[in-house]
């Protein structure tokens, strides 16, 4: 008997009996899997969704439930708040956010269809209050809809595309909108006739020659064989919790403390690789330290261990954090004056590393040479008072002189502060959700979306909140539809 393995498909010829039979088997019940299942079922396919946990959720269920949407003149929410948003600008921003890792076909397709996707989300029952919440937020603390969730208004992105806020958040009081988002998608999937099998971990694909025709799932310590006549959709998330994969593919994450997700173990990536797929941009990761909380801290200035600035701090908090962990010395400092400092959140594990009545005193407390941090801050303050940042083009309103002593430098230490991270690399897929082999040809019967693929959020330095759930839900749908087409 052939071996049951993540690393190579089990031969269909050796399956004695099929325990489940469907058209489309979806593996993983986060937002990606739910969206794929809905779309496949709505296209007429008989769909079974397998989830290793006892219920839906995945990393999506732990998220903020925010989806990056724009283009086509703007969503009703954007327009009501006075923002127009052309498809050209929206697509250009998506491409800039992908940086050197961009998948242009995915950006263009989503750029054209994001408004339709928003309508689809609403049609599934996802509620949106419809209002705009100004300011700099990681997630809304109330039930607002539209926030600035990326680096749209910050240099150099603002020179690439006309800025607009595009983070659309489910109506839900406070943080954690991902849980109700998945609940609603689950209800829609069940209403569409999707069968859900929980406590079922995928341990192998099944192939008939080169074609994927099913999967093996482990239920109650037994291998169960799933026949999927039209295809299998992988929706299993990234590999932030698989240390062996991180060591091989994404070793930079070992300087960070806090993987986030639903114990994402990279199983879907391994299944896809074993079937002949390929993984791309595996070194890419998202990270953030919640340094913009309290909100007045967004006015702070970051310096590295040499006392140099390295970023315009009006960028998305995750872009700032990702650039921070590129800095030598193992830490960076967030510099604040008395007008902006409030005790930081405990969970951020940021510490007060230096204080003083002058920046020279802070510099001394940090052990920096005289004329480093103090010169950086003097230069910054002089230009901020004139409304300019000649080095990094930070913009008002958070471009404010930090000259109301006493002063403080908060240490963000990569190893000990809360730098959450998850992985962005994964299977190479078409914009239709087909898993591609190394020649770019689709693998018959195999589809994937979400963080087990490389998608819209391809580049850690360009991440914006909502890009991953946009990718999960929209390209999850494409994968489900393509699978159902057989």
């Amino acid at each position: 008997m052939a071996e049951i393995s993540l690393h190579r498909p089990y031969p269909a010829s050796e399956v004695a009996a099929w325990d489940y039979t469907c058209d489309v088997a979806v593996i993983g019940f986060g937002a990606t899997g739910a969206s794929a299942a809905i779309e496949a079922a709505d296209a007429g396919a008989r769909v079974i969704l397998f989830e290793r946990n006892s219920g839906s959720g995945g990393a999506s269920g732990l998220s903020g439930g925010e989806i990056y949407i724009g283009g086509g003149g703007g969503t009703d929410v954007q327009r009501a708040a006075g923002f127009s948003d052309s498809t050209e600008d929206f697509t250009a921003y998506l491409k800039a956010a992908g940086g050197p890792c961009v998948d242009e076909a995915k950006c263009e397709k989503y750029g054209r269809e994001a408004l339709d996707h928003f309508a689809w989300l609403k049609a599934q029952g996802v509620p949106y209050r419809g209002n705009y919440l100004p300011g700099k937020h990681i997630e809304p603390t109330d039930d607002s809809t539209l926030i600035w969730s990326g680096s749209e208004a910050a240099w150099p992105f603002c020179d690439v595309a006309k800025p607009a806020p595009r983070g659309h958040v489910i109506q839900h009081m406070g943080w954690g909108g991902g849980r109700p988002l998945v609940d609603i998608l689950e209800a829609s999937a069940r209403a569409s006739g999707v069968e859900v099998v929980a406590d079922a971990r995928a341990v192998a694909l099944v192939a008939d020659g080169a074609r994927v025709v099913g999967a093996v799932v482990r239920i109650d310590n037994q291998n169960r064989f799933v026949r999927a006549a039209k295809g299998v959709v992988l929706a299993t998330g990234g590999f932030a919790f698989n240390e062996a994969m991180r060591r091989k593919y994404c070793p930079e994450t070992f300087k960070l403390s806090d993987p986030i997700g639903d114990k994402d173990d990279g199983a879907g990536i391994m299944l896809g690789l074993g079937a002949g797929g390929e993984a791309i941009h595996m070194e890419q990761f998202f990270t953030t330290c919640p340094w913009t909380m309290p909100e007045s801290h967004a006015n702070g200035v970051f310096v590295n261990a040499m006392g140099q600035r390295f970023i315009n701090e009006d960028c998305y908090h995750g872009r700032v954090s990702r650039c921070a962990v590129d800095q030598p010395g193992g830490k960076v400092y967030l510099c604040l004056d008395n007008a902006h400092f409030i005790q930081p959140m405990d969970f951020a594990r940021m510490t007060i590393a230096g204080t003083g009545d002058t920046w020279e005193e802070v510099e001394g407390e940090l052990g920096m040479a005289a004329g480093t941090l103090s010169q950086t801050m003097a230069f910054y303050n002089e230009h901020a008072r004139a409304g300019h940042d000649p080095l990094f083009h930070k913009r008002p309103p958070i471009l404010t002189a930090l000259d109301q002593g006493p002063f403080v430098a908060l240490e963000l230490n990569f190893e000990t502060s809360y730098f959450s991270f998850f992985t962005l690399g994964g299977l190479h897929t078409s914009a239709q959700g087909e898993v591609l082999d190394r020649t770019g040809a689709p693998l018959p019967g195999l589809f994937a979306a979400g963080r087990c693929t490389s998608g819209l959020p391809a580049w850690g330095h360009g991440y914006s909140s909502g890009l991953s759930l946009a990718d999960c839900t929209y390209f999850g749908r494409q994968a489900g539809r393509k699978a159902a087409a057989g």
Copy 2:
């Protein structure tokens, strides 16, 4: 009939007749392939070496012929020049050079055996004059042996391992010692009974079930079938000249102008992946701009487009260049004073971007805000005069104040200056040269070494001259020996 493809092995059952029969087939005739072939033949195997060009060379033949060697108390050359070099220090440096991508087993094995490897090279006939050439050189301009070829004496490496020069260069007048190095290895291979088949491009592996048992080579437009009873060694180099692979795996290189190598097309990596191997650290690349020529320019100070320093310039020129291309703004500047400036080499395509009688004037010519570059240089000069670099720990003797006007800033533009590059990622192999699958198990019959693998030079920011040829020759030998053992 099955398809002949780089991407999947051809079934041995479909081979009508074998055109060549041997124990070990080696693909590629650079230093890696030659070393593998010698070792396999010396172990008693019948070896045929296939090369797509009309003769030996590969990227090795275009190199400086410099090999990174140390440990064990030091080579005879190191000791004669007054340097001791413990295995612990040597190994620690190798590991630091591998950074987050390090393969510790390879570092430890080579760390223990580098002196034996040096003896082996000499036994093949590689001549070494045996002298030490002080200073900062890309390659010796005469026929000297030992040079500082990495960042050993520079921070932070000098704090990790006691520094010693370890670049051992073949006795050869001037640059280009790689060509005679490969010639000598070729002569040794032929003397050991290795058969060489040139103008033969590998287009597929041949497998019997999971075991690689040969290859298909294209000769005179005909497919020829090679039976290799004990194994195939891939020694085909990196993928710097394969734009599709770079786009998928190493897209950062698209900001650089000049791939170097022997049209390295990644064929061996694709063959290994197709056989079930995996590729790791594919985003890593070496790059350098020859900014230390003329040698007085090594005393220069680098700043980014914001006028900030970013590196201790006493690091290896390639490490400095690699950190340079991380800087935003598309370019960096090398700042020199009249005491150190000489017209740069034409081939470097560095341009004079600003001059002045003061650093303030240079700053203005570069379009930088007042108080940026001028402040950086004032701070640097003040501390250099006292023998310190508080920011980046650059050390004497090249830590010199740049205060003899007039002053000049040379522009190193990533796109238009000569930033040569080659790729460092490749097949995951054991320290014995076995190609490993995704579970870490060896693929029966398949071996690889050199730049189609991820080896000693695993991390672009830690590269040192001689690391790649050390990896090619030493791990080429391991692969050849292991293949011959069957």
